[in-house]
Protein backbone atom coordinates (compact mmCIF):
# COMPACT_ATOMS: atom_id res chain seq x y z
CA UNK A 1 0.00 0.00 0.00
CA UNK A 2 1.59 3.25 -1.16
CA UNK A 3 1.78 6.02 1.43
CA UNK A 4 0.26 9.44 0.79
CA UNK A 5 3.78 10.79 0.43
CA UNK A 6 4.52 8.30 -2.35
CA UNK A 7 1.22 9.03 -4.12
CA UNK A 8 1.90 12.79 -4.09
CA UNK A 9 5.47 12.22 -5.35
CA UNK A 10 4.28 9.91 -8.14
CA UNK A 11 1.59 12.40 -9.23
CA UNK A 12 4.02 15.32 -9.26
CA UNK A 13 6.65 13.30 -11.15
CA UNK A 14 4.03 12.22 -13.68
CA UNK A 15 2.87 15.81 -14.24
CA UNK A 16 6.45 17.08 -14.51
CA UNK A 17 7.70 14.42 -16.94
CA UNK A 18 4.53 14.56 -19.01
CA UNK A 19 5.02 18.26 -19.71
CA UNK A 20 8.79 18.68 -19.59
CA UNK A 21 9.27 16.07 -22.30
CA UNK A 22 7.28 18.04 -24.87
CA UNK A 23 8.30 21.58 -24.10
CA UNK A 24 10.91 24.10 -25.10
CA UNK A 25 13.00 26.20 -22.78
CA UNK A 26 11.53 29.51 -24.01
CA UNK A 27 8.08 28.39 -22.98
CA UNK A 28 9.03 28.53 -19.32
CA UNK A 29 9.03 31.47 -17.00
CA UNK A 30 9.45 31.63 -13.29
CA UNK A 31 8.96 33.59 -10.10
CA UNK A 32 10.85 33.72 -6.81
CA UNK A 33 9.17 34.91 -3.64
CA UNK A 34 11.52 35.95 -0.87
CA UNK A 35 9.75 36.53 2.42
CA UNK A 36 10.70 37.78 5.86
CA UNK A 37 8.13 37.94 8.65
CA UNK A 38 7.99 38.72 12.32
CA UNK A 39 5.33 38.05 14.94
CA UNK A 40 5.25 39.65 18.36
CA UNK A 41 2.96 38.16 21.04
CA UNK A 42 1.15 40.05 23.77
CA UNK A 43 -0.12 38.24 26.84
CA UNK A 44 1.31 34.86 25.88
CA UNK A 45 3.34 33.22 28.60
CA UNK A 46 5.00 30.66 26.33
CA UNK A 47 5.96 32.83 23.35
CA UNK A 48 7.61 36.21 23.02
CA UNK A 49 8.25 36.57 19.33
CA UNK A 50 8.74 34.63 16.13
CA UNK A 51 10.72 35.22 12.95
CA UNK A 52 10.11 33.46 9.65
CA UNK A 53 12.26 33.56 6.48
CA UNK A 54 11.40 31.74 3.32
CA UNK A 55 11.84 31.39 -0.40
CA UNK A 56 9.33 29.97 -2.88
CA UNK A 57 10.12 29.14 -6.49
CA UNK A 58 7.43 28.89 -9.12
CA UNK A 59 8.09 27.67 -12.62
CA UNK A 60 5.35 28.27 -15.19
CA UNK A 61 4.93 26.47 -18.48
CA UNK A 62 2.99 29.03 -20.52
CA UNK A 63 -0.55 29.18 -19.13
CA UNK A 64 -0.85 25.44 -18.60
CA UNK A 65 1.28 24.28 -15.71
CA UNK A 66 2.87 25.67 -12.56
CA UNK A 67 5.44 23.78 -10.56
CA UNK A 68 6.09 25.07 -7.06
CA UNK A 69 8.65 24.40 -4.36
CA UNK A 70 9.33 26.32 -1.21
CA UNK A 71 11.30 26.36 1.99
CA UNK A 72 10.99 28.47 5.10
CA UNK A 73 12.60 28.49 8.50
CA UNK A 74 10.83 29.71 11.58
CA UNK A 75 12.47 30.61 14.88
CA UNK A 76 10.32 30.97 17.97
CA UNK A 77 11.62 32.90 20.94
CA UNK A 78 9.98 31.28 23.95
CA UNK A 79 11.67 33.61 26.39
CA UNK A 80 14.44 32.96 28.90
CA UNK A 81 16.81 32.10 26.07
CA UNK A 82 14.70 29.19 24.79
CA UNK A 83 14.42 29.05 21.03
CA UNK A 84 12.52 26.58 18.88
CA UNK A 85 13.31 26.12 15.21
CA UNK A 86 10.94 24.75 12.63
CA UNK A 87 11.54 23.95 8.94
CA UNK A 88 8.82 23.89 6.33
CA UNK A 89 9.13 22.40 2.82
CA UNK A 90 6.48 22.22 0.22
CA UNK A 91 6.05 21.12 -3.37
CA UNK A 92 3.04 21.49 -5.58
CA UNK A 93 1.65 21.64 -9.08
CA UNK A 94 -1.22 23.45 -10.76
CA UNK A 95 -2.46 22.19 -14.10
CA UNK A 96 -4.89 24.23 -16.17
CA UNK A 97 -7.35 23.17 -18.83
CA UNK A 98 -9.46 25.51 -20.93
CA UNK A 99 -13.11 24.62 -21.38
CA UNK A 100 -15.14 26.70 -23.84
CA UNK A 101 -18.31 24.94 -22.77
CA UNK A 102 -18.10 26.61 -19.36
CA UNK A 103 -16.34 29.70 -20.74
CA UNK A 104 -13.38 29.38 -18.41
CA UNK A 105 -10.27 27.75 -17.11
CA UNK A 106 -10.33 24.69 -14.86
CA UNK A 107 -7.36 24.24 -12.55
CA UNK A 108 -6.24 21.02 -10.87
CA UNK A 109 -4.19 21.63 -7.75
CA UNK A 110 -1.95 19.37 -5.74
CA UNK A 111 0.35 20.35 -2.90
CA UNK A 112 2.28 18.64 -0.13
CA UNK A 113 3.87 20.25 2.93
CA UNK A 114 6.24 18.87 5.49
CA UNK A 115 6.87 20.73 8.69
CA UNK A 116 9.61 19.47 10.95
CA UNK A 117 10.85 20.58 14.29
CA UNK A 118 13.52 18.79 16.34
CA UNK A 119 11.74 19.43 19.61
CA UNK A 120 8.06 19.06 18.87
CA UNK A 121 5.49 17.79 16.41
CA UNK A 122 6.06 16.75 12.79
CA UNK A 123 3.29 17.77 10.44
CA UNK A 124 2.62 16.44 6.95
CA UNK A 125 -0.08 18.15 4.91
CA UNK A 126 -1.63 16.98 1.64
CA UNK A 127 -3.93 19.14 -0.42
CA UNK A 128 -5.82 18.56 -3.63
CA UNK A 129 -8.57 20.45 -5.36
CA UNK A 130 -10.20 22.09 -8.31
CA UNK A 131 -10.69 25.69 -9.36
CA UNK A 132 -12.59 27.60 -12.02
CA UNK A 133 -11.80 31.04 -13.44
CA UNK A 134 -13.94 32.51 -16.20
CA UNK A 135 -12.18 33.81 -19.34
CA UNK A 136 -13.12 37.38 -18.45
CA UNK A 137 -11.34 36.93 -15.09
CA UNK A 138 -14.31 38.31 -13.17
CA UNK A 139 -15.41 35.15 -11.32
CA UNK A 140 -13.43 32.50 -9.47
CA UNK A 141 -14.40 29.39 -7.55
CA UNK A 142 -12.26 26.75 -5.88
CA UNK A 143 -12.68 23.80 -3.65
CA UNK A 144 -9.80 22.17 -1.83
CA UNK A 145 -9.49 19.23 0.52
CA UNK A 146 -6.62 19.05 2.95
CA UNK A 147 -5.46 16.45 5.39
CA UNK A 148 -2.97 17.42 8.09
CA UNK A 149 -1.21 14.62 9.95
CA UNK A 150 0.32 15.59 13.28
CA UNK A 151 2.85 13.25 14.90
CA UNK A 152 4.16 14.33 18.25
CA UNK A 153 7.19 13.10 20.14
CA UNK A 154 5.05 10.76 22.27
CA UNK A 155 3.91 8.98 19.13
CA UNK A 156 0.34 10.25 19.34
CA UNK A 157 -1.11 11.01 15.94
CA UNK A 158 -3.75 13.55 15.22
CA UNK A 159 -5.56 13.97 11.90
CA UNK A 160 -7.21 17.24 10.87
CA UNK A 161 -9.39 17.28 7.77
CA UNK A 162 -10.00 20.65 6.17
CA UNK A 163 -12.43 21.55 3.40
CA UNK A 164 -12.33 24.91 1.66
CA UNK A 165 -14.70 26.63 -0.67
CA UNK A 166 -13.70 29.97 -2.17
CA UNK A 167 -16.12 32.20 -4.05
CA UNK A 168 -14.61 35.31 -5.56
CA UNK A 169 -15.72 37.89 -8.07
CA UNK A 170 -15.07 41.36 -9.36
CA UNK A 171 -17.92 43.65 -8.33
CA UNK A 172 -16.85 46.56 -10.51
CA UNK A 173 -15.03 46.73 -13.83
CA UNK A 174 -12.08 44.66 -12.60
CA UNK A 175 -10.92 47.49 -10.32
CA UNK A 176 -11.91 45.54 -7.23
CA UNK A 177 -12.18 41.93 -6.14
CA UNK A 178 -14.24 40.36 -3.36
CA UNK A 179 -13.20 37.03 -1.92
CA UNK A 180 -15.06 34.77 0.47
CA UNK A 181 -13.28 31.65 1.68
CA UNK A 182 -15.23 29.15 3.77
CA UNK A 183 -13.41 26.61 5.92
CA UNK A 184 -14.56 23.47 7.66
CA UNK A 185 -12.01 21.98 10.06
CA UNK A 186 -12.69 18.54 11.37
CA UNK A 187 -10.50 17.26 14.17
CA UNK A 188 -11.87 14.11 15.79
CA UNK A 189 -9.21 14.02 18.51
CA UNK A 190 -9.82 17.56 19.66
CA UNK A 191 -11.24 17.03 23.14
CA UNK A 192 -10.83 20.59 24.33
CA UNK A 193 -12.34 22.46 21.41
CA UNK A 194 -15.25 21.65 19.16
CA UNK A 195 -14.59 18.70 16.85
CA UNK A 196 -15.77 20.64 13.83
CA UNK A 197 -15.11 24.33 13.33
CA UNK A 198 -16.68 26.50 10.65
CA UNK A 199 -15.10 29.80 9.70
CA UNK A 200 -14.68 32.24 6.86
CA UNK A 201 -12.14 34.71 5.57
CA UNK A 202 -13.56 37.70 3.78
CA UNK A 203 -11.24 39.88 1.74
CA UNK A 204 -11.54 43.01 -0.38
CA UNK A 205 -8.90 43.88 -2.99
CA UNK A 206 -8.73 47.30 -4.60
CA UNK A 207 -6.60 47.71 -7.71
CA UNK A 208 -5.25 51.18 -8.45
CA UNK A 209 -4.70 52.42 -11.96
CA UNK A 210 -1.11 53.32 -11.43
CA UNK A 211 1.65 52.05 -9.22
CA UNK A 212 4.40 54.07 -7.58
CA UNK A 213 5.07 55.42 -4.12
CA UNK A 214 2.95 55.99 -2.16
CA UNK A 215 0.10 54.47 -4.20
CA UNK A 216 0.27 50.68 -4.33
CA UNK A 217 -0.72 48.54 -7.30
CA UNK A 218 -3.26 46.82 -5.04
CA UNK A 219 -4.48 47.01 -1.50
CA UNK A 220 -6.10 44.09 0.35
CA UNK A 221 -8.03 44.22 3.60
CA UNK A 222 -9.54 41.16 5.22
CA UNK A 223 -11.11 39.68 8.30
CA UNK A 224 -11.71 36.26 9.80
CA UNK A 225 -15.16 35.20 10.95
CA UNK A 226 -15.39 32.19 13.30
CA UNK A 227 -12.81 30.09 15.14
CA UNK A 228 -9.89 28.46 13.32
CA UNK A 229 -7.73 25.67 14.65
CA UNK A 230 -4.88 23.97 12.73
CA UNK A 231 -5.86 25.89 9.61
CA UNK A 232 -3.82 25.60 6.42
CA UNK A 233 -3.88 28.74 4.26
CA UNK A 234 -2.83 27.46 0.86
CA UNK A 235 -2.40 30.83 -0.77
CA UNK A 236 0.09 31.92 1.85
CA UNK A 237 1.56 28.44 2.30
CA UNK A 238 0.92 28.90 5.97
CA UNK A 239 0.25 26.05 8.40
CA UNK A 240 -1.03 27.15 11.75
CA UNK A 241 0.15 24.30 13.96
CA UNK A 242 -0.32 26.20 17.19
CA UNK A 243 -2.44 24.24 19.70
CA UNK A 244 -4.43 27.41 20.42
CA UNK A 245 -7.60 28.48 18.67
CA UNK A 246 -7.39 31.60 16.51
CA UNK A 247 -10.57 33.52 17.29
CA UNK A 248 -10.26 36.73 15.34
CA UNK A 249 -7.90 38.11 12.76
CA UNK A 250 -7.71 41.26 10.63
CA UNK A 251 -5.17 41.94 7.93
CA UNK A 252 -4.02 44.43 5.34
CA UNK A 253 -1.59 44.02 2.48
CA UNK A 254 -0.20 46.55 0.01
CA UNK A 255 1.71 45.55 -3.12
CA UNK A 256 3.81 47.84 -5.26
CA UNK A 257 4.97 46.96 -8.74
CA UNK A 258 8.63 48.05 -8.80
CA UNK A 259 9.11 47.22 -12.47
CA UNK A 260 7.94 44.58 -14.96
CA UNK A 261 10.00 41.94 -13.16
CA UNK A 262 9.52 42.65 -9.49
CA UNK A 263 6.91 43.44 -6.86
CA UNK A 264 7.15 44.38 -3.22
CA UNK A 265 4.46 43.48 -0.69
CA UNK A 266 3.97 44.59 2.89
CA UNK A 267 1.50 42.88 5.21
CA UNK A 268 0.24 43.35 8.72
CA UNK A 269 -2.05 40.94 10.59
CA UNK A 270 -3.48 41.20 14.10
CA UNK A 271 -4.92 38.06 15.67
CA UNK A 272 -6.42 36.91 18.97
CA UNK A 273 -6.15 33.41 20.40
CA UNK A 274 -7.52 31.27 23.18
CA UNK A 275 -5.48 28.53 24.84
CA UNK A 276 -6.68 25.17 26.11
CA UNK A 277 -6.71 26.76 29.60
CA UNK A 278 -9.15 29.43 28.32
CA UNK A 279 -6.47 32.14 28.46
CA UNK A 280 -6.44 34.81 25.81
CA UNK A 281 -3.50 36.45 24.07
CA UNK A 282 -2.89 38.34 20.83
CA UNK A 283 -0.25 38.71 18.14
CA UNK A 284 0.87 41.21 15.51
CA UNK A 285 2.37 39.78 12.36
CA UNK A 286 4.29 41.92 9.88
CA UNK A 287 5.98 40.73 6.71
CA UNK A 288 7.79 41.92 3.63
CA UNK A 289 7.72 39.97 0.39
CA UNK A 290 9.77 40.49 -2.76
CA UNK A 291 8.54 38.78 -5.91
CA UNK A 292 11.00 38.53 -8.78
CA UNK A 293 10.20 37.27 -12.24
CA UNK A 294 12.95 35.44 -14.13
Amino acid sequence: MASRHQIVTICLTYLATNFLSVTYADNWSGYSDIKAAMISYQGDTTRKSLTDYGINLQSKYLDKLDLLIGYSQLKLNAGQGNNVRQNQFFAGANWFQYADLINGRVGWHLKGYSLTSPSSTIVNVYTGGLSYLNYGKTFYLDTLFTQSLYKNTQGNDNVVNQSNLAIEFSPGLKSSWLSLQLFMLDNEDDVLFDNTLYSANIEWTQFFGRSGLPIPMKLIVGAQLGDQHYLVLHRLDSINNSPDVQQTSYWANATWQINDHSELGLSIVTSEYQTEQQENYSSIYSSILLKIKW
Binding site: D63, Y135, K137, R210, S211
Partner: protein, 205 residues
Protein backbone atom coordinates in the same frame (compact mmCIF):
# COMPACT_ATOMS: atom_id res chain seq x y z
CA UNK B 1 -32.79 4.05 -81.71
CA UNK B 2 -32.82 7.84 -81.49
CA UNK B 3 -35.38 7.57 -78.77
CA UNK B 4 -33.12 5.25 -76.82
CA UNK B 5 -30.12 7.59 -77.14
CA UNK B 6 -32.28 10.51 -76.13
CA UNK B 7 -33.57 8.61 -73.08
CA UNK B 8 -30.05 7.62 -71.97
CA UNK B 9 -28.81 11.21 -72.39
CA UNK B 10 -31.78 12.49 -70.43
CA UNK B 11 -31.15 9.93 -67.66
CA UNK B 12 -27.44 10.88 -67.52
CA UNK B 13 -28.36 14.57 -67.28
CA UNK B 14 -30.81 13.77 -64.52
CA UNK B 15 -28.11 11.90 -62.58
CA UNK B 16 -25.66 14.77 -62.96
CA UNK B 17 -28.10 17.37 -61.66
CA UNK B 18 -27.28 16.92 -57.96
CA UNK B 19 -23.55 17.24 -58.72
CA UNK B 20 -24.14 20.32 -60.83
CA UNK B 21 -26.39 21.90 -58.23
CA UNK B 22 -23.98 21.20 -55.33
CA UNK B 23 -22.14 24.42 -54.62
CA UNK B 24 -18.39 24.48 -54.38
CA UNK B 25 -17.58 24.07 -50.64
CA UNK B 26 -15.23 27.07 -50.59
CA UNK B 27 -17.76 29.28 -52.29
CA UNK B 28 -20.47 28.07 -49.90
CA UNK B 29 -18.20 28.55 -46.88
CA UNK B 30 -17.37 32.16 -47.83
CA UNK B 31 -21.00 32.90 -48.62
CA UNK B 32 -22.15 31.58 -45.22
CA UNK B 33 -19.38 33.45 -43.40
CA UNK B 34 -20.55 36.68 -45.04
CA UNK B 35 -24.03 35.86 -43.70
CA UNK B 36 -22.50 35.38 -40.20
CA UNK B 37 -23.42 31.68 -40.30
CA UNK B 38 -20.03 30.61 -38.98
CA UNK B 39 -21.14 27.10 -38.02
CA UNK B 40 -22.46 26.55 -41.56
CA UNK B 41 -19.30 28.03 -43.06
CA UNK B 42 -17.16 25.63 -41.02
CA UNK B 43 -19.47 22.70 -41.81
CA UNK B 44 -19.08 23.42 -45.53
CA UNK B 45 -15.35 22.68 -45.45
CA UNK B 46 -15.41 19.87 -42.91
CA UNK B 47 -15.40 17.17 -45.61
CA UNK B 48 -12.26 18.66 -47.12
CA UNK B 49 -10.45 18.20 -43.80
CA UNK B 50 -11.90 14.70 -43.38
CA UNK B 51 -10.56 13.73 -46.80
CA UNK B 52 -7.20 15.44 -46.33
CA UNK B 53 -6.18 16.42 -42.83
CA UNK B 54 -3.03 18.04 -44.22
CA UNK B 55 -4.98 20.62 -46.23
CA UNK B 56 -3.30 23.74 -44.84
CA UNK B 57 -5.83 26.32 -45.98
CA UNK B 58 -8.78 24.21 -44.76
CA UNK B 59 -7.14 23.83 -41.33
CA UNK B 60 -6.40 27.56 -41.06
CA UNK B 61 -9.86 28.55 -42.23
CA UNK B 62 -11.53 26.03 -39.91
CA UNK B 63 -9.51 27.53 -37.05
CA UNK B 64 -10.78 31.00 -37.94
CA UNK B 65 -14.41 29.90 -38.30
CA UNK B 66 -14.43 28.01 -34.99
CA UNK B 67 -12.81 31.03 -33.30
CA UNK B 68 -15.74 33.13 -34.59
CA UNK B 69 -18.10 30.58 -32.97
CA UNK B 70 -16.21 31.01 -29.65
CA UNK B 71 -15.14 27.38 -29.85
CA UNK B 72 -11.64 28.47 -28.87
CA UNK B 73 -10.10 25.08 -28.03
CA UNK B 74 -11.12 23.66 -31.42
CA UNK B 75 -9.77 26.79 -33.13
CA UNK B 76 -6.42 26.42 -31.34
CA UNK B 77 -6.23 22.77 -32.31
CA UNK B 78 -6.82 23.53 -36.03
CA UNK B 79 -4.41 26.46 -36.08
CA UNK B 80 -1.82 24.15 -34.50
CA UNK B 81 -2.48 21.62 -37.28
CA UNK B 82 -1.93 24.37 -39.86
CA UNK B 83 1.34 25.41 -38.18
CA UNK B 84 2.48 21.79 -38.13
CA UNK B 85 1.76 21.46 -41.86
CA UNK B 86 3.51 24.74 -42.65
CA UNK B 87 5.67 26.04 -39.78
CA UNK B 88 6.35 29.23 -41.80
CA UNK B 89 2.68 30.22 -41.93
CA UNK B 90 2.38 33.68 -40.42
CA UNK B 91 -1.38 33.49 -41.03
CA UNK B 92 -1.75 30.53 -38.69
CA UNK B 93 0.67 31.92 -36.11
CA UNK B 94 -1.24 35.20 -36.04
CA UNK B 95 -4.56 33.37 -36.18
CA UNK B 96 -3.84 31.22 -33.13
CA UNK B 97 -3.18 34.33 -30.99
CA UNK B 98 -6.89 35.23 -31.17
CA UNK B 99 -8.40 32.14 -29.47
CA UNK B 100 -5.47 32.03 -27.02
CA UNK B 101 -6.14 35.64 -26.02
CA UNK B 102 -9.86 34.91 -25.78
CA UNK B 103 -9.05 32.15 -23.28
CA UNK B 104 -6.77 34.48 -21.32
CA UNK B 105 -3.66 32.49 -22.29
CA UNK B 106 -1.52 35.60 -22.60
CA UNK B 107 1.89 33.96 -22.25
CA UNK B 108 1.14 31.53 -25.05
CA UNK B 109 -0.39 34.19 -27.31
CA UNK B 110 2.67 36.41 -26.75
CA UNK B 111 4.91 33.53 -27.72
CA UNK B 112 3.22 33.17 -31.14
CA UNK B 113 3.18 36.95 -31.71
CA UNK B 114 6.93 37.06 -30.98
CA UNK B 115 7.48 34.17 -33.38
CA UNK B 116 5.81 36.20 -36.15
CA UNK B 117 7.93 39.25 -35.27
CA UNK B 118 11.12 37.23 -35.58
CA UNK B 119 10.31 36.72 -39.26
CA UNK B 120 8.36 39.92 -39.93
CA UNK B 121 9.66 42.52 -37.43
CA UNK B 122 7.07 45.21 -38.24
CA UNK B 123 3.98 43.07 -38.78
CA UNK B 124 1.18 45.30 -37.49
CA UNK B 125 -1.19 42.68 -36.05
CA UNK B 126 1.61 40.80 -34.33
CA UNK B 127 2.62 44.03 -32.58
CA UNK B 128 -0.95 44.92 -31.60
CA UNK B 129 -1.61 41.45 -30.18
CA UNK B 130 1.70 41.41 -28.34
CA UNK B 131 0.78 44.81 -26.87
CA UNK B 132 -2.53 43.37 -25.65
CA UNK B 133 -0.60 40.51 -24.02
CA UNK B 134 1.89 42.87 -22.38
CA UNK B 135 -0.98 44.90 -20.98
CA UNK B 136 -2.73 41.79 -19.61
CA UNK B 137 0.52 40.60 -18.06
CA UNK B 138 1.02 44.06 -16.44
CA UNK B 139 4.35 44.49 -18.23
CA UNK B 140 3.96 48.27 -18.28
CA UNK B 141 7.57 49.29 -18.92
CA UNK B 142 7.89 46.72 -21.69
CA UNK B 143 4.63 47.99 -23.20
CA UNK B 144 5.82 51.60 -22.93
CA UNK B 145 9.08 50.89 -24.78
CA UNK B 146 7.27 48.70 -27.30
CA UNK B 147 4.61 51.28 -28.17
CA UNK B 148 7.11 54.17 -28.30
CA UNK B 149 9.14 52.23 -30.85
CA UNK B 150 6.26 51.00 -33.02
CA UNK B 151 4.27 54.25 -33.13
CA UNK B 152 7.14 55.70 -35.18
CA UNK B 153 6.43 53.10 -37.86
CA UNK B 154 2.63 53.53 -37.70
CA UNK B 155 2.31 57.24 -36.81
CA UNK B 156 -1.33 57.53 -37.88
CA UNK B 157 -2.51 54.55 -35.84
CA UNK B 158 -4.62 55.39 -32.78
CA UNK B 159 -4.61 51.89 -31.25
CA UNK B 160 -0.85 51.95 -30.62
CA UNK B 161 -1.19 55.44 -29.13
CA UNK B 162 -3.91 54.21 -26.76
CA UNK B 163 -1.64 51.42 -25.54
CA UNK B 164 1.16 54.01 -25.21
CA UNK B 165 -1.13 56.26 -23.16
CA UNK B 166 -2.13 53.41 -20.84
CA UNK B 167 1.44 52.20 -20.32
CA UNK B 168 2.75 55.72 -19.71
CA UNK B 169 -0.10 56.50 -17.32
CA UNK B 170 0.31 53.36 -15.21
CA UNK B 171 4.11 53.56 -15.14
CA UNK B 172 3.92 57.16 -13.90
CA UNK B 173 5.06 58.92 -17.10
CA UNK B 174 2.26 61.44 -17.09
CA UNK B 175 3.62 63.82 -19.74
CA UNK B 176 4.07 60.99 -22.23
CA UNK B 177 0.54 59.79 -21.42
CA UNK B 178 -0.94 63.26 -21.99
CA UNK B 179 0.87 63.64 -25.34
CA UNK B 180 -0.23 60.16 -26.41
CA UNK B 181 -3.91 60.72 -25.51
CA UNK B 182 -3.87 64.16 -27.22
CA UNK B 183 -2.60 62.42 -30.36
CA UNK B 184 -5.43 59.86 -30.00
CA UNK B 185 -7.97 62.71 -29.94
CA UNK B 186 -6.47 64.11 -33.18
CA UNK B 187 -7.00 60.74 -34.83
CA UNK B 188 -10.20 59.61 -33.09
CA UNK B 189 -11.92 62.79 -31.83
CA UNK B 190 -14.62 60.90 -29.92
CA UNK B 191 -12.37 58.41 -28.14
CA UNK B 192 -13.83 58.16 -24.62
CA UNK B 193 -10.71 56.79 -22.94
CA UNK B 194 -8.59 59.70 -24.20
CA UNK B 195 -11.29 62.28 -23.36
CA UNK B 196 -11.66 60.91 -19.81
CA UNK B 197 -7.93 60.72 -19.19
CA UNK B 198 -7.30 64.28 -20.39
CA UNK B 199 -10.30 65.59 -18.43
CA UNK B 200 -9.14 63.95 -15.18
CA UNK B 201 -5.60 65.13 -15.82
CA UNK B 202 -6.81 68.72 -16.34
CA UNK B 203 -8.82 68.62 -13.13
CA UNK B 204 -5.74 67.46 -11.18
CA UNK B 205 -3.42 70.14 -12.58
Amino acid sequence: MNNKIFSIALFAMFLSFPAMSKEDPWQLSHKLEAQADYAGAAQAIQDIIKKNARHEYAQTRYGWLTYLQKDYSTAISHYKNAIEINPKSLDAQLGITLPLMAQGRWQEAAKYARQVLKVAPYQYYAHIRLMACEEALLQWNTLLEHTQKITKYYPTDATILIYLGRAASVSGNNKIAVDAYKSVIDRLPGNLEAIRFLASNNSKS
